[in-house]
Symmetry: C2
Subunit: 228 residues, 2 copies
DNA sequence: CGCGGCTTTGATGTTCATCAAGTAAAGTGG
DNA sequence: CCACTTTACTTGATGAACATCAAAGCCGCG
């Protein structure tokens, strides 16, 4: 018996496991393994066989892929409970993209067949999972479209707002990623990300202390993001 | 009783309705309505309430949205049986994007509640549907990433290959969309789409007769698409 | 302290959008 | 069916936006 079975109170339960009864949750709990990843470590690797259903309990991760020419494209960065494993666990048998921890993270792992069996058996659970996966996909697609449509300063403004509002919900935060990773996220060169941040700093829109960023004028940032 | 109930033999059955027994298929069939759209007509409009589950029986459609500044972003263009309604029918109650016919099309419409009830009841059906929706989302995301990473001529080469291989499976085809729509699809200006097509024509890679395009040198196009 | 990686800034060149002007094609009404 | 209007397409010239390159500063870490 798994002694540290605390799944009953896990925040995740409200999200995808809401439709499960106590017995099933306990079974799930005995099946699950918690795994800790240090910043920088890879959680899933592109091309690897998918054998388990993973969800983020704490930390922050990035979903990305490597282009033929060797550089990275960051697809999205997401926080716990918004992120359910890779999205293609049901459509393919191998990971299409990689996932790595950009902050120290804890991942819960459940055998994929167990989840699949649940899915087949329990309609409410299936519906919850589909809804969740759809939302994740929706978010990635619309974020990508938003970014594509903006010019450089609009993109940097957008990503700063994303961190301050969606990820950290705080005006002051530590950037979990390098300037290069931001560049790979919003599709521009590292040099220009830095240049734009410097411009924002000069104009008093943000303050920067190394990795720490403070948003000073959020309205200005919003308007730049919209016009961009 | 719906006399033209031919759903038993519909190609779509193999894809998402495979797990349904004869009786359910007949019920589905009586519930469904076929709707024809002329080239250019709108099938779903951004912001509209989602009340039905729609899938493309014949024709060709584009998924797109309008940016705040008023221009279009084409998200994808897909053919029958690859396209199941909008992807966000389960995650939201309103359409996030618009869909319009780029060729004369026929759409089958089933009441969404009927599909939802089926989903809850029938695990196999649910799994099939989730897989299908995941695949659609996967395709959109990876296509967007592919395009983003390329330069202009690579993008045009990519889209020509998409039409010739994935959509029409033929070296000669009629472009169903305007130059501007291509531009909105691959994220570049209309003028440069035309310029690049002219370059390809000059170099003997393609031949153009108005809307009709013939791919002459597909290997060259592949290599341009890859390098770009 | 010294090395290597991340960051910053400036200078340069390329890529690409925009503008403009002209041509072809496709509707539209008499 | 033809003149008229409108919309799509095409091409060249220009300039802006952006990537790339290079050199220097900074910071953490052995």
């Amino acid at each position: 018996m798994n002694s540290n079975c605390i799944c009953e109170n896990c925040e995740f339960r409200d999200i995808v496991f809401a439709y499960l009864d106590e017995a099933t949750v306990r079974e799930l709990c005995n099946n699950k393994e918690e795994q800790a990843f240090r910043k920088g470590e890879i959680i899933n690797h592109e091309g690897e066989k998918i054998t388990s259903f993973k969800y983020l309990k704490s930390g922050l991760v990035k979903l990305y892929r490597r282009t033929p020419s060797g550089d990275e494209q960051v697809i999205t960065i997401t926080k716990p409970f918004e992120f359910v494993s890779n999205m293609n666990i049901f459509s393919e048998d191998r990971y299409r993209y990689s996932v790595s921890a950009v902050e120290d993270s804890v991942v819960c792992t459940v055998d994929l067949d167990f989840i699949k069996a649940l899915f087949l058996k329990n309609g409410g659970f299936a519906m919850g999972l589909l809804t969740k996966i759809s939302k994740i996909n929706d978010k990635i697609i619309s974020q990508t479209l938003d970014i594509r449509q903006k010019n450089l300063i609009g993109r940097v403004a957008f990503i700063l707002l994303y961190f301050t509002k969606d990820i950290y919900n705080s005006r002051v935060f530590d950037l979990p990623v390098s300037r290069k990773e931001i560049a790979d996220y919003i599709g521009m060169s590292t040099a220009n990300v830095i240049r734009t941040l410097s411009d924002f700093k000069r104009d008093g829109i943000i303050r920067v202390f190394g990795k720490t960023i403070e948003i000073v004028d959020i309205e200005k940032l919003e308007s730049i993001s919209k016009r961009g």
